[in-house]
């Protein structure tokens, strides 16, 4: 019996648009074994409630997601990490936030909990006392002649988010990199619980500031599906315009920074100037440079400002006009190409095993893009062309993003040319429901699950940033490379710290 057949034998729960199947614990254990035998089903997310474990899977053959749950009233459940390496960090997080122990797990060291909170397992019904003294982190050991460690962070040399990187180095080559994150844990989930959907949306918009649009949209989509309402067509089109502008400004930014990390300043300067133009057009069109809080469950808060469309069209014309020249410069400088080609390679089979999305997946042969694979309005009418490369190096990730810049420009033009008239938002009915939203942000697929109670208040929620399934691959990408190439690898991924620290 396949893993998906096993899931479908569970008791169906009313989650929209994908049914959630409630399994018994033996069924979940059998699922874990079936997953070990069948590599096809992808683990997209793993999360919890105080007495329940939830997982989202995707079968590339079937399209769509399948959700499964396992009761964990006693705080124990069979681990999925022996079958799916992407489950490792989720299981460590489940232990730290809810106190659930994954039995047979590959790794149960603390993850988000650094021993600094007033209580352990803060989201469980019975939080515990914090440890004393504060425990020191343990890193995986490395053996060999001349191996030494380089600790980096959490406060980094650049203006980036905090995280600790522990390098084990032999000569110049990295033998192992291990990341320790969690420094940005703000208690997102705890803050969203008990709040009306509109209020909780402000936290979804601040899960990762650079992805504020995609996360706010995915959360709004989950709420709308849970309540069985559809946002008006004009709101849908404006959301997509904002999302493509967000993709555009982030891709420009990171392309420039990758070049800068190879000490090649010109593309960085030009990308920075172009991106600033995009942000000013966002300000002109939507009243906020990052367009924060413009997407709410039910629709959008503001219409496109007068003159906004013209400002956006003008700036994307400037970006489009300069792209070929920038690409020629990127291509024609051996000193730059030498740094990016063949650096930080992620093998296609690793990307497939982790179900890594975004440019990390698409540079290593996994062509998943939620806009095309599991289309949602308006992309069902205007699907993007999805670039796909196999080489998996820094250069491939950059080229996927350059191709996506062109696609975003085309989509923004298409959407603005045919902007539907009508309302900006629909009122939300006050009733219970459960829904999943999946939106392709610039980093990859943002998956939000939400459960509302009869009062329309958030009873349970999980926002899954795409970086959950990309961060572990950074550790694989740097292996055997030199330490000096780590900034290039890191920037070509540009995983979110805040998004996974919750």
């Amino acid at each position: 019996m396949t893993a998906f057949d096993l899931i479908r034998r569970g008791a169906p729960q009313d989650c929209r648009p994908w049914t959630r199947f409630l399994l018994t614990r033996p069924q979940w254990g059998a699922l874990a074994e079936a997953l070990a035998a069948d590599p096809a089903p992808e683990l997209m997310a793993l999360w919890a409630e105080p007495a329940m474990i939830h997982a989202a899977f995707r079968s590339p053959a079937e399209g769509g997601l399948l959700l499964a749950s396992c009761p964990a009233a006693d705080g124990r459940f069979p681990a999925l990490s022996p079958a799916r390496p992407g489950a490792v960090r989720f299981e460590r997080m489940l232990h730290d936030l809810w106190g659930h122990v994954a039995e047979g797990a590959v790794d149960l060291r603390p993850w988000l909990d650094h021993g600094r909170w007033p209580a352990t397992a803060p989201l469980s019904t019975r939080p515990g006392a914090p440890p004393f003294p504060v425990p020191q982190p343990e890193f995986l050991p490395v053996e060999g002649e001349g191996v030494h460690q380089i600790p980096v962070g959490p406060v980094h040399a650049g203006i980036i988010e905090p995280g600790h990187f522990r390098f084990h180095v032999q000569g110049e080559a990295v033998a192992r990199l291990e990341a320790r994150l969690g420094y940005l844990h703000k208690g997102h989930i705890g803050l969203m619980l008990g709040k009306p959907a509109r209020a909780a949306a402000r936290f979804a918009a601040r899960l990762s500031g650079d992805t504020t649009i995609a996360h706010a949209w995915a959360f709004a989509m989950a709420v709308e599906r849970a309540l069985g309402v559809a946002p008006p067509p004009r709101a849908v089109a404006l959301r997509a315009v904002m999302c493509e502008l967000e993709r555009l400004h982030n891709h420009l930014n990171d392309w420039g920074f990758v070049c800068n990390d190879a000490a090649f300043a010109y593309p960085h300067a030009r990308c920075g100037a172009l991106r600033e133009g995009v942000l000013r057009a966002c300000q002109a069109g939507f009243g906020h440079r990052l367009m924060m809080d413009r997407i709410v469950p039910g629709g959008v808060t503001d219409d496109l400002a007068p003159g906004g469309a013209e400002a956006i069209l003008a700036v994307i014309a400037v970006v489009q006009a300069e792209l070929p020249a920038l690409l020629r410069i990127y291509d024609s400088h051996a000193s730059l190409q030498d740094r990016v080609v063949g650096t930080g390679i992620v093998a296609p089979d690793l990307v497939a095993r982790f179900a890594a999305g975004g440019h990390v997946g698409r540079a290593s042969g996994r062509g998943f893009d939620a806009r095309e694979a599991i289309p949602y309005p308006p992309y069902d009418a205007w699907p993007p062309e999805v670039p796909l490369l196999e080489t998996g190096d820094v250069d491939a990730r950059v080229r996927v993003r350059i191709a996506e810049i062109g696609e975003s420009i085309r989509l923004v033009r298409t959407l603005l040319a045919d902007l539907p008239a009508g309302e900006l938002a629909v009122p939300l009915p006050q009733r219970a429901g459960e829904g999943v939203g999946l939106v392709e942000g610039f980093r990859g697929d943002c998956l939000h699950w939400v459960m509302l109670d009869e009062g329309g208040v958030v009873r349970a929620v999980f926002p899954r940033d795409p970086s959950w399934l990309q961060w572990p691959l950074l550790e694989a990408a740097i292996e055997g490379n030199i330490v000096a190439d780590f900034p290039l690898c890191n920037k070509s991924f540009n995983c979110s710290y805040s998004g996974v620290d919750l």
Partner: protein, 177 residues
């Protein structure tokens, strides 16, 4: 090719915006504070070390934008440095997560005096939307005395420039007395 473009850039007008004006009240308040503490004189230059103490990364995007050619922060004598040991200013964002408290305090301990602490963004002021969470301290002032606050979610690069210029002007005013 790169070289023709660089050559053309030499004869074109700059992309950089004119500098924003600074509020006289802010300058006055800061000048008095500096005067009272009689800090050692630094000259009209500030080295800034940015510390993310729990931000969503929105503030970092806008702080990074200060370095682009349009805002060109270095023309004001302000520059970002890679180590707190070289810094006069700690530019701190985020609601101060409990997991970042020790790192922030250690960063401050590495920064030579006099050191100005600037809290950037609504979260850094009092925790912002994250106020009340078990995982945050609720603003930078919970761990360090704050000299200047630049609110906003996130503050725009122009607002950041205004705040930093006020700090610079205050320092210059204190020096000439």
């Amino acid at each position: 090719m790169l070289w023709p473009r660089l050559a053309r850039a030499l004869v074109r007008p700059p992309l950089t915006d004119p500098a924003p004006a600074v509020s006289a009240d802010v300058v006055q308040a800061l000048a008095e504070r500096l005067d009272a503490t009689a800090q050692a004189r630094l000259g009209r230059s500030l080295a800034i070390r940015q510390v993310d103490a729990g931000s969503c990364n929105g503030c970092e995007l806008e702080i990074n934008a200060l370095n682009n050619v349009v805002y060109d922060l270095e023309r004001f004598g302000l520059r970002f440095v890679a180590s707190p040991r070289h810094a006069d200013v700690l530019l701190v964002t985020g609601p101060l997560t409990r997991n970042m408290r020790e790192a922030l305090l250690r960063t401050r301990a590495c920064t030579p005096d006099p050191c100005f602490v600037v809290a950037v963004g609504d979260c850094a002021v009092d925790g912002g939307v994250f106020k009340g969470s078990y995982a945050v301290e609720g603003g930078i002032a919970a761990a360090l005395p704050v000299d200047l606050v630049i609110p906003g979610c996130p503050p725009t690069p122009t607002q950041l420039l205004e705040g930093l210029l006020a700090l610079l002007d205050a320092q210059a005013t204190a020096k000439t007395r």
